[in-house]
Symmetry: C2
Subunit: 215 residues, 2 copies
DNA sequence: TGTACATCAGTGAACGCGCGTTCACTGATGTAC
DNA sequence: TGTACATCAGTGAACGCGCGTTCACTGATGTAC
Protein backbone atom coordinates (compact mmCIF):
# COMPACT_ATOMS: atom_id res chain seq x y z
CA UNK A 1 0.00 0.00 0.00
CA UNK A 2 1.19 3.51 -0.71
CA UNK A 3 2.34 5.67 2.17
CA UNK A 4 0.07 8.53 3.09
CA UNK A 5 1.06 11.60 1.08
CA UNK A 6 2.83 9.55 -1.55
CA UNK A 7 1.54 9.20 -5.07
CA UNK A 8 1.51 5.93 -6.89
CA UNK A 9 2.39 5.77 -10.59
CA UNK A 10 -1.27 5.16 -11.33
CA UNK A 11 -2.32 8.24 -9.43
CA UNK A 12 0.27 10.31 -11.23
CA UNK A 13 -0.95 8.96 -14.56
CA UNK A 14 -4.55 9.79 -13.70
CA UNK A 15 -3.62 13.32 -12.73
CA UNK A 16 -1.69 13.77 -15.93
CA UNK A 17 -4.46 12.52 -18.20
CA UNK A 18 -7.02 14.67 -16.41
CA UNK A 19 -4.78 17.69 -16.97
CA UNK A 20 -4.40 16.80 -20.64
CA UNK A 21 -8.16 16.52 -21.05
CA UNK A 22 -8.57 19.97 -19.55
CA UNK A 23 -5.98 21.44 -21.88
CA UNK A 24 -7.85 20.11 -24.87
CA UNK A 25 -11.07 21.41 -23.36
CA UNK A 26 -9.67 24.93 -23.17
CA UNK A 27 -8.50 24.70 -26.75
CA UNK A 28 -11.96 23.67 -27.80
CA UNK A 29 -13.54 26.52 -25.85
CA UNK A 30 -11.19 28.94 -27.53
CA UNK A 31 -12.08 27.59 -30.94
CA UNK A 32 -15.82 27.17 -30.75
CA UNK A 33 -17.02 28.43 -27.41
CA UNK A 34 -17.85 26.70 -24.17
CA UNK A 35 -21.19 25.44 -25.41
CA UNK A 36 -19.47 23.42 -28.12
CA UNK A 37 -17.31 21.56 -25.63
CA UNK A 38 -17.62 17.84 -26.31
CA UNK A 39 -16.12 14.87 -24.51
CA UNK A 40 -16.16 12.82 -27.68
CA UNK A 41 -14.28 15.46 -29.62
CA UNK A 42 -11.67 15.76 -26.89
CA UNK A 43 -11.23 11.99 -26.80
CA UNK A 44 -10.75 11.87 -30.55
CA UNK A 45 -8.08 14.58 -30.35
CA UNK A 46 -6.28 12.57 -27.69
CA UNK A 47 -6.43 9.42 -29.77
CA UNK A 48 -8.81 7.72 -27.39
CA UNK A 49 -12.35 6.47 -27.64
CA UNK A 50 -15.13 8.61 -26.20
CA UNK A 51 -16.17 6.40 -23.31
CA UNK A 52 -12.58 6.29 -22.04
CA UNK A 53 -12.93 9.80 -20.64
CA UNK A 54 -15.64 8.64 -18.27
CA UNK A 55 -12.84 7.11 -16.23
CA UNK A 56 -11.68 10.66 -15.57
CA UNK A 57 -14.80 12.81 -15.48
CA UNK A 58 -18.23 11.70 -14.38
CA UNK A 59 -19.94 13.71 -17.10
CA UNK A 60 -19.61 16.66 -19.42
CA UNK A 61 -21.06 18.97 -16.79
CA UNK A 62 -18.53 17.66 -14.34
CA UNK A 63 -15.70 18.69 -16.65
CA UNK A 64 -17.15 22.15 -17.19
CA UNK A 65 -17.61 22.71 -13.48
CA UNK A 66 -14.01 21.77 -12.94
CA UNK A 67 -12.88 24.21 -15.63
CA UNK A 68 -14.84 26.97 -13.95
CA UNK A 69 -13.33 26.05 -10.61
CA UNK A 70 -9.83 26.12 -12.08
CA UNK A 71 -10.50 29.50 -13.64
CA UNK A 72 -11.66 31.01 -10.35
CA UNK A 73 -8.78 29.36 -8.54
CA UNK A 74 -6.22 30.79 -10.95
CA UNK A 75 -7.52 34.33 -10.42
CA UNK A 76 -7.60 33.86 -6.67
CA UNK A 77 -4.04 32.57 -6.75
CA UNK A 78 -2.91 35.45 -8.94
CA UNK A 79 -4.33 37.89 -6.40
CA UNK A 80 -3.01 36.05 -3.39
CA UNK A 81 0.47 35.81 -4.83
CA UNK A 82 0.46 39.48 -5.77
CA UNK A 83 -0.84 40.54 -2.37
CA UNK A 84 1.65 38.32 -0.57
CA UNK A 85 4.51 40.03 -2.34
CA UNK A 86 3.26 43.40 -1.17
CA UNK A 87 1.38 44.55 -4.24
CA UNK A 88 -0.64 47.74 -3.87
CA UNK A 89 -4.03 48.31 -5.47
CA UNK A 90 -2.58 49.45 -8.77
CA UNK A 91 -0.48 46.31 -8.97
CA UNK A 92 -3.51 44.22 -8.07
CA UNK A 93 -5.52 45.84 -10.83
CA UNK A 94 -2.82 45.21 -13.38
CA UNK A 95 -2.47 41.63 -12.20
CA UNK A 96 -6.15 41.19 -12.86
CA UNK A 97 -5.89 42.75 -16.30
CA UNK A 98 -2.95 40.49 -17.08
CA UNK A 99 -4.92 37.46 -15.96
CA UNK A 100 -7.87 38.43 -18.13
CA UNK A 101 -5.86 39.23 -21.25
CA UNK A 102 -3.78 36.07 -20.92
CA UNK A 103 -6.89 34.02 -21.66
CA UNK A 104 -10.10 35.86 -22.45
CA UNK A 105 -12.07 32.60 -22.67
CA UNK A 106 -11.13 31.86 -19.10
CA UNK A 107 -12.32 35.33 -18.09
CA UNK A 108 -15.63 34.81 -19.85
CA UNK A 109 -16.16 31.38 -18.36
CA UNK A 110 -16.19 33.12 -15.00
CA UNK A 111 -17.59 36.57 -15.70
CA UNK A 112 -19.37 36.15 -19.03
CA UNK A 113 -22.90 35.16 -19.94
CA UNK A 114 -24.23 32.84 -17.27
CA UNK A 115 -25.59 29.46 -18.33
CA UNK A 116 -29.31 29.34 -17.52
CA UNK A 117 -29.95 26.88 -14.75
CA UNK A 118 -26.33 26.40 -13.78
CA UNK A 119 -25.52 26.85 -10.12
CA UNK A 120 -21.92 26.84 -9.00
CA UNK A 121 -21.16 24.44 -6.16
CA UNK A 122 -20.38 25.94 -2.79
CA UNK A 123 -16.63 25.66 -2.97
CA UNK A 124 -16.59 27.86 -6.06
CA UNK A 125 -18.61 30.52 -4.25
CA UNK A 126 -16.00 30.32 -1.50
CA UNK A 127 -13.23 31.07 -3.97
CA UNK A 128 -15.16 34.10 -5.23
CA UNK A 129 -15.41 35.33 -1.65
CA UNK A 130 -11.68 34.79 -1.19
CA UNK A 131 -11.01 37.03 -4.19
CA UNK A 132 -13.17 39.79 -2.76
CA UNK A 133 -11.39 39.50 0.57
CA UNK A 134 -8.05 40.10 -1.10
CA UNK A 135 -9.42 43.27 -2.64
CA UNK A 136 -10.81 44.50 0.66
CA UNK A 137 -7.55 43.75 2.42
CA UNK A 138 -5.70 45.85 -0.09
CA UNK A 139 -7.98 48.79 0.69
CA UNK A 140 -7.73 48.33 4.43
CA UNK A 141 -4.56 50.37 4.72
CA UNK A 142 -5.98 53.42 2.97
CA UNK A 143 -7.60 56.30 4.81
CA UNK A 144 -11.35 56.33 4.41
CA UNK A 145 -12.36 59.86 5.25
CA UNK A 146 -15.22 62.06 4.13
CA UNK A 147 -18.90 61.80 5.00
CA UNK A 148 -20.64 58.51 4.29
CA UNK A 149 -22.79 58.52 1.16
CA UNK A 150 -26.32 57.06 1.12
CA UNK A 151 -25.02 53.84 -0.38
CA UNK A 152 -22.41 53.52 2.32
CA UNK A 153 -25.09 53.95 4.96
CA UNK A 154 -26.98 51.18 3.20
CA UNK A 155 -23.87 49.01 3.28
CA UNK A 156 -23.60 49.40 7.05
CA UNK A 157 -26.62 47.18 7.38
CA UNK A 158 -26.18 45.07 4.28
CA UNK A 159 -22.75 43.62 4.51
CA UNK A 160 -23.45 39.92 4.84
CA UNK A 161 -20.85 39.27 2.17
CA UNK A 162 -18.16 40.88 4.32
CA UNK A 163 -19.49 39.64 7.64
CA UNK A 164 -16.08 38.51 8.79
CA UNK A 165 -14.14 41.43 7.37
CA UNK A 166 -13.24 44.39 9.58
CA UNK A 167 -13.42 46.93 6.74
CA UNK A 168 -15.63 49.99 7.20
CA UNK A 169 -18.63 50.59 4.98
CA UNK A 170 -16.69 53.26 3.13
CA UNK A 171 -13.97 50.73 2.41
CA UNK A 172 -16.51 48.15 1.30
CA UNK A 173 -17.86 50.68 -1.14
CA UNK A 174 -14.42 51.44 -2.47
CA UNK A 175 -13.76 47.73 -2.89
CA UNK A 176 -16.98 47.24 -4.83
CA UNK A 177 -16.25 50.25 -7.00
CA UNK A 178 -12.76 48.97 -7.69
CA UNK A 179 -14.28 45.71 -8.78
CA UNK A 180 -17.06 47.05 -10.99
CA UNK A 181 -14.94 49.66 -12.72
CA UNK A 182 -12.20 47.27 -13.65
CA UNK A 183 -14.74 44.81 -14.96
CA UNK A 184 -16.46 47.58 -16.86
CA UNK A 185 -13.38 48.28 -18.94
CA UNK A 186 -12.23 44.68 -19.16
CA UNK A 187 -15.50 43.06 -20.17
CA UNK A 188 -16.15 45.56 -22.95
CA UNK A 189 -12.57 45.38 -24.12
CA UNK A 190 -12.37 41.58 -24.14
CA UNK A 191 -15.71 41.24 -25.87
CA UNK A 192 -14.33 43.40 -28.65
CA UNK A 193 -16.59 46.41 -28.15
CA UNK A 194 -13.64 48.76 -28.48
CA UNK A 195 -12.15 47.21 -31.60
CA UNK A 196 -12.04 49.65 -34.44
CA UNK A 197 -12.54 52.62 -32.16
CA UNK A 198 -8.89 53.53 -32.39
CA UNK A 199 -7.83 54.23 -28.82
CA UNK A 200 -5.65 52.10 -26.59
CA UNK A 201 -7.87 50.35 -24.08
CA UNK A 202 -4.89 49.79 -21.80
CA UNK A 203 -4.71 53.55 -21.34
CA UNK A 204 -8.41 53.72 -20.58
CA UNK A 205 -7.92 51.03 -17.96
CA UNK A 206 -5.06 52.97 -16.40
CA UNK A 207 -7.08 56.18 -16.46
CA UNK A 208 -9.90 54.46 -14.60
CA UNK A 209 -7.44 53.09 -12.09
CA UNK A 210 -5.84 56.49 -11.53
CA UNK A 211 -9.19 58.09 -10.94
CA UNK A 212 -10.10 55.31 -8.55
CA UNK A 213 -6.97 55.75 -6.45
CA UNK A 214 -6.88 59.54 -6.51
CA UNK A 215 -9.60 59.94 -3.93
CA UNK B 1 -50.24 44.41 -58.02
CA UNK B 2 -49.94 46.11 -54.63
CA UNK B 3 -49.41 49.84 -54.51
CA UNK B 4 -45.97 50.96 -53.34
CA UNK B 5 -45.97 51.35 -49.58
CA UNK B 6 -48.96 49.07 -49.15
CA UNK B 7 -48.73 45.65 -47.61
CA UNK B 8 -50.50 42.65 -49.03
CA UNK B 9 -52.12 40.10 -46.73
CA UNK B 10 -49.31 37.71 -47.54
CA UNK B 11 -46.68 40.23 -46.55
CA UNK B 12 -48.49 40.91 -43.30
CA UNK B 13 -48.70 37.20 -42.62
CA UNK B 14 -45.00 36.74 -43.29
CA UNK B 15 -44.09 39.57 -40.95
CA UNK B 16 -46.29 38.14 -38.26
CA UNK B 17 -44.87 34.62 -38.48
CA UNK B 18 -41.32 35.95 -38.46
CA UNK B 19 -42.14 37.88 -35.29
CA UNK B 20 -43.65 34.80 -33.72
CA UNK B 21 -40.56 32.76 -34.52
CA UNK B 22 -38.40 35.38 -32.86
CA UNK B 23 -40.56 35.39 -29.75
CA UNK B 24 -40.13 31.67 -29.38
CA UNK B 25 -36.43 32.08 -30.02
CA UNK B 26 -36.12 34.51 -27.10
CA UNK B 27 -38.03 32.13 -24.88
CA UNK B 28 -35.65 29.37 -25.83
CA UNK B 29 -32.63 31.56 -25.15
CA UNK B 30 -34.04 32.42 -21.74
CA UNK B 31 -34.57 28.76 -20.96
CA UNK B 32 -31.43 27.13 -22.22
CA UNK B 33 -29.09 29.80 -23.52
CA UNK B 34 -28.39 31.13 -26.96
CA UNK B 35 -26.25 28.18 -27.93
CA UNK B 36 -29.21 25.84 -27.50
CA UNK B 37 -31.35 27.78 -29.94
CA UNK B 38 -32.79 25.36 -32.47
CA UNK B 39 -34.98 25.95 -35.50
CA UNK B 40 -36.52 22.51 -35.18
CA UNK B 41 -37.49 23.06 -31.56
CA UNK B 42 -39.06 26.42 -32.39
CA UNK B 43 -41.01 24.87 -35.25
CA UNK B 44 -42.31 22.13 -33.00
CA UNK B 45 -43.48 24.70 -30.46
CA UNK B 46 -45.32 26.55 -33.17
CA UNK B 47 -46.97 23.37 -34.37
CA UNK B 48 -45.07 23.38 -37.64
CA UNK B 49 -42.55 21.11 -39.25
CA UNK B 50 -38.88 22.08 -39.05
CA UNK B 51 -38.26 22.81 -42.73
CA UNK B 52 -41.20 25.25 -42.77
CA UNK B 53 -39.08 27.87 -40.99
CA UNK B 54 -36.68 27.98 -43.91
CA UNK B 55 -39.36 30.01 -45.67
CA UNK B 56 -38.72 32.71 -43.08
CA UNK B 57 -35.07 32.50 -42.18
CA UNK B 58 -32.27 31.36 -44.45
CA UNK B 59 -30.51 29.51 -41.65
CA UNK B 60 -30.07 29.26 -37.94
CA UNK B 61 -27.23 31.79 -38.06
CA UNK B 62 -29.47 34.13 -39.95
CA UNK B 63 -32.03 34.02 -37.16
CA UNK B 64 -29.40 34.65 -34.48
CA UNK B 65 -27.96 37.58 -36.37
CA UNK B 66 -31.41 39.06 -36.62
CA UNK B 67 -31.97 38.63 -32.89
CA UNK B 68 -28.71 40.41 -32.20
CA UNK B 69 -29.69 43.19 -34.57
CA UNK B 70 -33.07 43.55 -32.86
CA UNK B 71 -31.40 43.68 -29.46
CA UNK B 72 -29.03 46.46 -30.52
CA UNK B 73 -31.86 48.26 -32.24
CA UNK B 74 -34.04 48.19 -29.13
CA UNK B 75 -31.30 49.72 -27.00
CA UNK B 76 -30.60 52.37 -29.61
CA UNK B 77 -34.31 53.18 -29.79
CA UNK B 78 -34.57 53.33 -26.01
CA UNK B 79 -31.75 55.85 -25.94
CA UNK B 80 -33.03 57.84 -28.87
CA UNK B 81 -36.51 58.08 -27.44
CA UNK B 82 -35.17 59.10 -24.05
CA UNK B 83 -32.84 61.69 -25.54
CA UNK B 84 -35.57 63.06 -27.79
CA UNK B 85 -37.76 63.71 -24.79
CA UNK B 86 -35.00 65.71 -23.16
CA UNK B 87 -33.53 63.09 -20.85
CA UNK B 88 -30.35 64.06 -19.03
CA UNK B 89 -27.47 61.68 -18.37
CA UNK B 90 -29.00 60.25 -15.22
CA UNK B 91 -32.20 59.48 -17.06
CA UNK B 92 -30.19 57.92 -19.88
CA UNK B 93 -28.35 55.73 -17.42
CA UNK B 94 -31.55 54.58 -15.80
CA UNK B 95 -33.10 53.93 -19.19
CA UNK B 96 -30.19 51.67 -19.93
CA UNK B 97 -30.52 49.87 -16.64
CA UNK B 98 -34.21 49.41 -17.27
CA UNK B 99 -33.52 48.03 -20.71
CA UNK B 100 -30.96 45.57 -19.31
CA UNK B 101 -33.09 44.39 -16.40
CA UNK B 102 -36.16 43.99 -18.58
CA UNK B 103 -34.45 41.16 -20.39
CA UNK B 104 -31.00 40.06 -19.19
CA UNK B 105 -30.68 37.53 -22.02
CA UNK B 106 -31.04 40.32 -24.51
CA UNK B 107 -28.32 42.27 -22.69
CA UNK B 108 -26.00 39.28 -22.78
CA UNK B 109 -26.65 38.56 -26.43
CA UNK B 110 -25.16 41.99 -27.11
CA UNK B 111 -22.63 42.50 -24.33
CA UNK B 112 -21.97 38.98 -23.06
CA UNK B 113 -19.46 36.35 -24.03
CA UNK B 114 -18.68 36.73 -27.72
CA UNK B 115 -19.14 33.73 -29.99
CA UNK B 116 -15.72 32.73 -31.39
CA UNK B 117 -15.59 33.44 -35.09
CA UNK B 118 -18.77 35.47 -35.23
CA UNK B 119 -18.48 38.86 -36.89
CA UNK B 120 -21.41 41.23 -36.77
CA UNK B 121 -22.47 42.58 -40.16
CA UNK B 122 -21.79 46.24 -40.86
CA UNK B 123 -25.25 47.52 -40.13
CA UNK B 124 -25.04 46.21 -36.58
CA UNK B 125 -21.77 48.03 -36.04
CA UNK B 126 -23.54 51.14 -37.26
CA UNK B 127 -26.22 50.77 -34.61
CA UNK B 128 -23.52 50.42 -31.94
CA UNK B 129 -22.02 53.68 -33.18
CA UNK B 130 -25.43 55.34 -33.05
CA UNK B 131 -25.75 54.36 -29.40
CA UNK B 132 -22.37 55.87 -28.59
CA UNK B 133 -23.33 59.05 -30.39
CA UNK B 134 -26.40 59.45 -28.20
CA UNK B 135 -24.20 59.21 -25.14
CA UNK B 136 -21.74 61.76 -26.46
CA UNK B 137 -24.54 64.13 -27.38
CA UNK B 138 -25.85 63.95 -23.85
CA UNK B 139 -22.43 65.01 -22.54
CA UNK B 140 -22.02 67.77 -25.06
CA UNK B 141 -23.89 70.32 -23.00
CA UNK B 142 -21.77 69.81 -19.89
CA UNK B 143 -18.73 71.94 -19.11
CA UNK B 144 -15.48 70.09 -19.69
CA UNK B 145 -12.95 72.02 -17.68
CA UNK B 146 -9.76 71.01 -15.94
CA UNK B 147 -6.44 70.01 -17.48
CA UNK B 148 -6.42 67.16 -19.96
CA UNK B 149 -5.21 63.85 -18.55
CA UNK B 150 -2.73 61.64 -20.42
CA UNK B 151 -5.54 59.47 -21.73
CA UNK B 152 -7.38 62.52 -23.00
CA UNK B 153 -4.28 63.64 -24.83
CA UNK B 154 -4.13 60.17 -26.34
CA UNK B 155 -7.77 60.48 -27.39
CA UNK B 156 -7.02 63.71 -29.27
CA UNK B 157 -5.19 61.64 -31.84
CA UNK B 158 -7.16 58.42 -31.52
CA UNK B 159 -10.73 59.35 -32.03
CA UNK B 160 -11.61 57.54 -35.25
CA UNK B 161 -14.74 56.25 -33.59
CA UNK B 162 -15.96 59.81 -33.03
CA UNK B 163 -14.59 61.23 -36.25
CA UNK B 164 -17.82 63.01 -37.06
CA UNK B 165 -18.64 64.11 -33.55
CA UNK B 166 -17.71 67.62 -32.38
CA UNK B 167 -17.09 66.54 -28.77
CA UNK B 168 -13.77 67.43 -27.16
CA UNK B 169 -11.35 64.75 -26.02
CA UNK B 170 -12.36 65.41 -22.43
CA UNK B 171 -15.97 64.77 -23.36
CA UNK B 172 -15.06 61.62 -25.27
CA UNK B 173 -13.32 60.38 -22.14
CA UNK B 174 -16.36 61.16 -20.01
CA UNK B 175 -18.58 59.34 -22.48
CA UNK B 176 -16.36 56.27 -22.41
CA UNK B 177 -16.22 56.31 -18.63
CA UNK B 178 -19.99 56.63 -18.45
CA UNK B 179 -20.24 53.60 -20.66
CA UNK B 180 -17.70 51.37 -18.90
CA UNK B 181 -18.87 52.17 -15.38
CA UNK B 182 -22.50 51.44 -16.08
CA UNK B 183 -21.56 48.19 -17.77
CA UNK B 184 -19.29 47.34 -14.87
CA UNK B 185 -22.18 47.34 -12.42
CA UNK B 186 -24.75 45.91 -14.82
CA UNK B 187 -22.75 43.01 -16.18
CA UNK B 188 -21.73 41.79 -12.73
CA UNK B 189 -25.23 42.29 -11.38
CA UNK B 190 -26.99 40.54 -14.27
CA UNK B 191 -24.57 37.66 -14.24
CA UNK B 192 -25.47 37.12 -10.61
CA UNK B 193 -22.13 37.99 -9.07
CA UNK B 194 -23.83 40.10 -6.43
CA UNK B 195 -26.46 37.57 -5.44
CA UNK B 196 -26.16 36.59 -1.85
CA UNK B 197 -23.98 39.56 -1.01
CA UNK B 198 -26.87 41.33 0.63
CA UNK B 199 -26.73 44.88 -0.70
CA UNK B 200 -29.06 46.48 -3.22
CA UNK B 201 -27.29 46.66 -6.56
CA UNK B 202 -29.64 49.41 -7.69
CA UNK B 203 -28.15 51.63 -5.02
CA UNK B 204 -24.64 50.75 -6.15
CA UNK B 205 -25.65 51.69 -9.67
CA UNK B 206 -27.01 55.02 -8.49
CA UNK B 207 -23.91 55.66 -6.41
CA UNK B 208 -21.73 55.10 -9.46
CA UNK B 209 -23.93 57.40 -11.48
CA UNK B 210 -23.80 60.14 -8.85
CA UNK B 211 -20.03 59.97 -8.67
CA UNK B 212 -19.89 60.10 -12.44
CA UNK B 213 -21.98 63.24 -12.69
CA UNK B 214 -20.49 65.04 -9.68
CA UNK B 215 -17.34 66.04 -11.47
C1' DT C 1 -67.75 36.44 -62.83
C1' DG C 2 -65.21 32.63 -64.17
C1' DT C 3 -61.28 30.22 -65.71
C1' DA C 4 -56.05 29.34 -66.23
C1' DC C 5 -51.92 30.06 -64.27
C1' DA C 6 -48.28 31.54 -60.98
C1' DT C 7 -46.90 32.12 -56.43
C1' DC C 8 -45.91 30.59 -52.13
C1' DA C 9 -46.69 28.22 -47.30
C1' DG C 10 -46.14 24.06 -45.39
C1' DT C 11 -45.31 18.79 -45.28
C1' DG C 12 -42.87 14.45 -44.80
C1' DA C 13 -39.10 11.76 -45.97
C1' DA C 14 -34.44 11.59 -46.06
C1' DC C 15 -29.23 12.55 -45.41
C1' DG C 16 -25.42 12.74 -42.52
C1' DC C 17 -23.86 14.12 -38.40
C1' DG C 18 -22.22 14.25 -33.59
C1' DC C 19 -23.67 14.12 -29.15
C1' DG C 20 -23.80 11.99 -24.05
C1' DT C 21 -23.86 7.93 -21.95
C1' DT C 22 -24.22 2.59 -20.75
C1' DC C 23 -22.43 -1.82 -20.99
C1' DA C 24 -19.90 -6.06 -21.40
C1' DC C 25 -15.51 -7.05 -22.35
C1' DT C 26 -10.01 -7.32 -23.01
C1' DG C 27 -5.60 -6.58 -21.44
C1' DA C 28 -2.28 -4.41 -18.73
C1' DT C 29 -0.70 -3.05 -14.16
C1' DG C 30 -0.31 -3.46 -9.40
C1' DT C 31 -0.84 -6.28 -4.84
C1' DA C 32 -0.79 -10.14 -1.46
C1' DC C 33 0.99 -14.20 -0.07
C1' DT D 1 10.80 -14.95 -6.95
C1' DG D 2 6.69 -16.72 -8.49
C1' DT D 3 1.90 -17.37 -8.58
C1' DA D 4 -3.17 -15.96 -7.85
C1' DC D 5 -6.04 -12.34 -7.64
C1' DA D 6 -7.84 -7.56 -7.71
C1' DT D 7 -7.79 -3.25 -9.73
C1' DC D 8 -8.31 -0.29 -13.30
C1' DA D 9 -7.53 1.90 -18.22
C1' DG D 10 -9.36 1.63 -22.47
C1' DT D 11 -12.27 -0.48 -26.40
C1' DG D 12 -16.15 -1.15 -29.50
C1' DA D 13 -20.85 -1.74 -30.04
C1' DA D 14 -25.04 0.07 -29.08
C1' DC D 15 -29.05 3.26 -27.61
C1' DG D 16 -31.69 7.17 -28.36
C1' DC D 17 -31.54 11.66 -29.44
C1' DG D 18 -31.90 16.11 -31.87
C1' DC D 19 -29.67 18.86 -34.94
C1' DG D 20 -29.37 21.70 -39.68
C1' DT D 21 -30.54 21.35 -44.08
C1' DT D 22 -32.24 19.57 -48.99
C1' DC D 23 -35.76 18.00 -51.80
C1' DA D 24 -39.88 16.73 -54.27
C1' DC D 25 -44.37 17.38 -53.50
C1' DT D 26 -49.47 19.05 -52.04
C1' DG D 27 -52.71 22.45 -51.46
C1' DA D 28 -54.14 26.98 -50.68
C1' DT D 29 -54.00 31.80 -52.02
C1' DG D 30 -53.49 35.42 -55.12
C1' DT D 31 -53.27 37.32 -60.14
C1' DA D 32 -54.28 38.04 -65.14
C1' DC D 33 -57.33 37.88 -68.68
Amino acid sequence: MAEAGTTTPRERYRTQVRAEVKEHAWEQIATAGASALSLNAIAKRMGMSGPALYRYFASRDDLITELIRDAYRSLADTFRTAAASGADLAALAHAMRGWALADPHRYFLVYGTPVPGYHAPGDITAIAAEIMTTVLDAFAGLPSDGPATPFETHLEEHRQWARDHPASAVTLHRGLTFWTRLHGVLSLELAGHFTGMGFDSGLLFTAELDDLLAR
